[in-house]
């Protein structure tokens, strides 16, 4: 119960006017950074680090953590409206969010993404508060075999639950591994798969790969079907936001399940990317409306 007391004491400090203002500023800045493809939450936080030099430590941490959350949400905005994920952990959001937006329900998709992310965050905070010391021990016990197991689970669930032919998914995954292996091997330090091209020594940047695969691919599809602006316009209808949030509890089981996966994957250092893919895969498997997934029936959220 010590932890709870500490948490409540934390709230009394955080819920003061200047700090609330700082949170608002931080979240807005975070969304701004998160929307830009390639500037994910960690980059955004390090970019804005100089802003906090003149601040009290408590205010600085509040600003930076609001920034971090804002950037995570910002990443889902581009995923849903443009089908270009702003950062790795929002890739899974494109699967349903973008089709929903294209069907004329961008507001619903955005509100659902934000609502479920907020729910996941809440669960995460509560869980961490009660289990912090225990969780820290588990995380410290994580070694290479455990990392391998977590990622293997994530990739295996992706193959088993993806919509496409499994062998094609396996080939695509293996191509991804091969591309990720280009450059300097982190274990031995030797340079591999560069074919003698100096530029490849540093490896292939994640942002470059994502822009090519999602961005250019989306452009080519748009041109093929002669649709001009495929970026979905997003006039926000507040009634729709409210309705989407009200509808969230109906997906309660999926939310709780995803929250559980998110917390588990957040404790284990698998990271938010693996967690979001896992939640998606599991939700797909358990949903009775499973076959509508990927065409815009879904929901998920991020948590780490």
């Amino acid at each position: 119960m010590d932890n709870l007391g500490e948490l409540l004491h934390g709230f009394t400090i955080a819920l003061t006017m200047p700090h609330l203002l700082l949170m608002a500023v931080g979240v807005l800045l975070g969304i701004l950074v998160g929307v830009l493809p390639g500037l994910g939450a960690p980059n955004g936080v390090s970019l804005l680090l100089p802003l906090t030099f003149g601040m009290q430590p408590v205010s600085a941490i509040i600003l930076l953590s609001s920034m971090y959350w804002g950037a995570l949400f910002g990443g889902s905005v581009t995923s849903i409206l443009f089908n270009i994920p702003g950062e790795p952990s929002s890739v899974a959001t494109t699967f349903d969010g973008y089709p929903m937006a294209r069907d004329g329900r961008p507001t619903t998709a955005l509100a659902t993404a934000f609502g479920s992310a907020a729910f996941g965050a809440l669960i995460g905070v509560i869980l961490i508060t009660f289990l912090a010391s225990w969780v820290a021990q588990v995380a410290l016990a994580f070694g290479p075999p455990e990392y391998f197991a977590v990622y293997f689970l994530a990739f295996a669930s992706f193959v088993g639950m993806g919509g496409a032919a499994p062998i094609k998914t396996v080939v695509a995954l293996a191509i991804g591994f091969a591309i990720a292996a280009i450059g300097i091997d982190t274990v031995s330090g030797s340079v591999r798969l560069t074919m003698g091209i100096d530029e490849l020594v540093k490896g292939v940047n994640f942002v470059v790969a994502v822009m090519g695969l999602f961005g250019i691919g989306e452009l080519l599809v748009a041109v093929e079907e002669e649709l001009h602006a495929r970026a979905v316009s997003s006039r926000i209808d507040w009634g729709e936001v409210f309705r989407a949030v009200v509808r969230l509890p109906r997906h309660g089981v999926a939310l709780l399940r995803s929250a559980a996966i998110g917390c588990w994957m957040g404790i284990t250092p698998g990271g938010p990317t693996a967690a979001s893919f896992m939640s998606y895969g599991i939700a797909r498997r358990f949903s009775r409306r499973g076959r509508y997934f990927g065409t815009g029936g879904g929901r998920r959220h991020h948590l780490a």
Partner: protein
């Protein structure tokens, strides 16, 4: 006209040859164990093998008459192909021109070609937009962000 079967086969051949390239390239780094531990080529070698085997499977499935997806007769019509080429070919030429002509000249030429050749804009307007693009790139990257974009062989020959 391109059939779905042709697309499936072409993709399988493409991914397969990528896999072969990965396998051959990783052999240079050594596969298996040495005194230093696992050799650097082992992991890429295994992924390469998976790619090759999976691509062969896809190739066979594409050839087999039973494959349902491959029976879709038309995946891309000639009109769609022309539209795709209209975006892809100039972009590819643009990328290829960057090392030679440099970022600024190449982007100006690209903007001009894309706007003026299909007659979306009149020639003077296309020229103005091309110049503005190059200038904006220069001001934003070279001046404000202090990031040097590729200048190209041509600029180097002229002494920039």
């Amino acid at each position: 006209m391109i059939s779905r079967r042709a697309l499936e086969l072409a993709t399988a051949v493409l991914t397969g040859s990528f896999g072969v390239a990965v396998v051959v390239s990783s052999l240079d780094n050594g596969i298996g164990w040495s005194s230093a531990g696992v050799d650097a080529g082992t992991f890429p070698f295994l992924t390469g093998v998976i790619i090759v085997v999976g691509s062969l499977y896809n190739l066979v499935r594409g050839v087999l008459p039973a494959a349902t997806l491959a029976n879709v007769p038309i995946a891309i019509t000639p009109i769609e192909l022309r539209r795709l080429a209209g975006l892809f070919v100039p972009a590819a030429i643009f990328i290829a021109a960057i090392p030679l002509a440099g970022m600024y000249l190449a982007s100006a030429l690209y903007v001009f070609a894309v706007l003026a050749i299909p007659r979306h804009q009149s020639v003077p307007r296309a020229l103005a937009m091309a110049a503005a693009t190059a200038l904006a790139l220069y001001v934003v990257f070279e001046r404000i962000f202090q990031v040097s974009l590729p200048h190209g062989v041509l600029a180097a020959a002229l002494g920039f």
